[in-house]
Symmetry: C2
């Protein structure tokens, strides 16, 4: 099967022009098919403040109301996505920016209301693999923003980590998929304040141990859950590290299943 690398980057690198330039150059050099998935939280928060749109947080989780969805669509789907694509094009990478609505790429449902109504937040229900195959086989490089749609006309704000993992799982039926999560930190750390405490390898057993010793902080848990779910569903390789990981110049955390 052909190789496919799916790389997720967060808001931090998008904010830093120099780091972003280096990352995009390294990304472009990855051999084989590739997909970039991006968030971009800070720019959305900044625009929301400028427009006087309040950020609603319930139980520590952000609520996406209509105004916030509009901002997300403008920032993720417009400003960040189109600028990333233009920058990639400038260095010879034939990028194409996508929301989940484009080509019906990523289908979702509005998250069902239980205790909290998260608003216009999407839970992914399907990936249009034939669309991604069409683009990848023609050497195009999809650049996916953190927006999906419900196939009824509604755009939905969707976690970029989950988009990357869902793409990896679905496309692993057709490609030999490596999934990369690029963070501000060098990977999964035993001590969040000590960059030297990088954990080189995490298996499900090690993960359970780390969790029971409270050595993994809250934001990392859904990310690692996404990673293992990807591995259990056909993804060949999962790595968590800094953006420099893509150029192969730094250590990172590799996630593997216990029987590997």
């Amino acid at each position: 099967m052909d190789k496919l690398s799916i790389v997720k980057i967060g808001g931090n690198i998008i904010e830093d022009n120099e780091q972003l330039g280096k990352f995009l150059t390294a990304f472009t050099k990855i051999e084989g098919g590739k997909v970039l998935v991006h968030g971009g939280g800070k720019k959305a928060t900044f625009l929301a403040k400028k427009l006087g749109v309040p950020t609603k947080i319930v139980d520590g989780r952000r609520i996406t109301d209509e105004d916030n969805l509009e901002i997300t669509t403008m920032i993720y789907g417009g400003k960040i996505n189109k600028n990333l694509v233009a920058q990639l094009q400038a260095i010879g990478c034939n990028a194409i920016g996508l929301s989940g609505a484009d080509g019906n790429a990523i289908q979702a449902v509005k998250r069902p209301v239980k205790e909290v109504d998260f608003g216009y937040v999407g839970d992914i229900t399907g990936i249009n693999t034939s669309f991604f195959k069409l683009l990848l086989q023609a050497q195009y490089v999809p650049v996916c923003c953190a927006i999906t749609h419900d196939q009824k006309g509604q755009l939905l704000n969707t976690n970029a980590d989950t988009i990357a993992a869902s793409l990896a799982k679905s496309l692993s039926k057709f490609f030999n998929v490596a999934l990369y999560y690029c963070l501000e930190i060098p990977g999964v750390l035993k001590n969040i304040n000590d960059k030297e405490s990088l954990i080189g390898v995490i298996t499900p057993n090690i993960y359970n141990e780390l969790k029971s010793n409270n050595l993994i902080h809250s934001g990392m848990i859904p990310k690692i859950d996404n990673c293992f779910e990807a591995l259990y569903n056909g993804v060949s390789q999962v790595k968590i590290g800094s953006a420099q990981m893509i150029s192969g110049n730094t250590k990172y955390t590799k996630l593997i299943l216990d029987d590997e």
Copy 2:
């Protein structure tokens, strides 16, 4: 050759949800390949006002500075484009939103500075016809916003009428292209205040006559110039009318060459 319809809509119909819904339904029913091209000026002006970004006008023409380009990218490439795509997807049209940077679809150069520096405004230099052919042959429906790129990382604000005409000309080598300009008014009028004064057919000779009698107002001239240039370059049909023209229920202005 396969039929291809290229339809340009302006800001007025995008602002009107009911009219937009009717238009998109009619657009979806067009047989054969189709491309939608949209502007969206009013929403950009509205956001600029909210953000306190001044609109610069020199000699009656808008200047696109960095702040205005950012707004254009958010509104055209993000908000309007993604919502149009989601709405088309909801009615069974497999739309894919594109800026000119996506897939290197539409290449441009920053307009050379003569008397006026128009800022980040693009003059089109090329169309990636193989990209459009790939999408159209796989039954996808490109939805193009009024943004191009210079292949060096710079996005450029570009007139949507010109994008539609350039696409029509370039794709007429591979398709039997019909080009439709949808306006607020029912077509080209002899008297802008009288909707009954619709001119049914315009040839270059009639056009020259109308111009020399000052019967065509300034905004219409570049549009009609675009239309004739398209006809001279292989486009089969060009029509200027209201958005209802697409459903075939209204009169419109047809542009033809003198020898037809």
